[in-house]
Symmetry: C2
Subunit: 136 residues, 2 copies
DNA sequence: CGGGATCCGCATCGATACTG
DNA sequence: CAGTATCGATGCGGATCCCG
């Protein structure tokens, strides 16, 4: 997006971001704790519910269920219920979800490359804060 | 995100996800309700606190303050306090923050292009849900 | 003007139990 | 196996007051 004066295409974020702005609506969804992780996992192919649970550590079945339901509602994933003896349910990514997953994968790459800088900045910040505390 | 202290020793149910996963750590930050919006606004140049508040509708001063503080801690923005008669404080984006802002701006573009599809999917989903309710 | 401190409602999330 | 239902704890985020 370059610097302040040369926006790419239709850059109109000089105005206020009211709640109705699309950015915020999408941000509220991917801001969710699990949505992005599910999205990235499903890129490689359909995954069953409990396998999803295993691959994403630390998610409760309730949260995963909720997450998948809203993702399905938003058209990001598709649900396939197979009537086997113990019910089998597979989740797969939709074309729309795939475009978003591609974006979020870049965020993942950014994270891997720059997390070190973030951590370093934190250490510097905390050290400076402690110094002020001693001064006071 | 906030100033999450992250109690890492607390792993009651055994298999918690790996906190060392960079994706998750960054996601927790941008998952924050305001961070991304502030980031994108600051791309155009330094902005003062209250102007930031006006440009971003619906943010309380507490949340904006908290957000800016963690962003500063993470090295995404820089704070400039100018000792004028009523204190003036400007926030500007850092090079690191700019790289992340570039990414998030693409998310913003995705939102503007695809929000319609998401809304449409929701309508379809809700309509189908109502149909099942009538069947039952 | 910028922002820290405090109180508190309300949404979120985890754990548990139950259904199909 | 794949959920739903309910309860309870946690803590985000808003409102208000106050200080530099």
């Amino acid at each position: 997006m370059s610097t302040r004066k040369s926006p790419p295409g239709k850059d109109r974020h000089g105005n206020s971001y009211d709640a109705s702005c699309p950015t915020r609506q999408v941000l509220d969804r991917i801001g969710d704790k699990w949505t992005v992780l599910v999205l990235i996992l499903l890129v490689d192919g359909p995954v069953r519910f409990n396998e999803l649970r295993r691959r994403i550590g630390g998610v409760s079945q309730k949260m995963l269920s909720q997450t998948l339901k809203s993702m399905e509602r938003d058209g990001l994933v598709r649900r396939h219920a197979i009537a086997t003896v113990p019910v089998t349910v597979e989740y797969s990514i939709t074309p729309l979800g795939l475009t978003l997953a591609t974006l979020m994968d870049q965020v993942r790459l950014w994270a891997e490359r720059n997390l070190g800088q973030v951590i370093a900045a934190q250490h510097r910040y905390d050290a400076a804060a402690q110094a002020s505390d001693r001064a006071a």
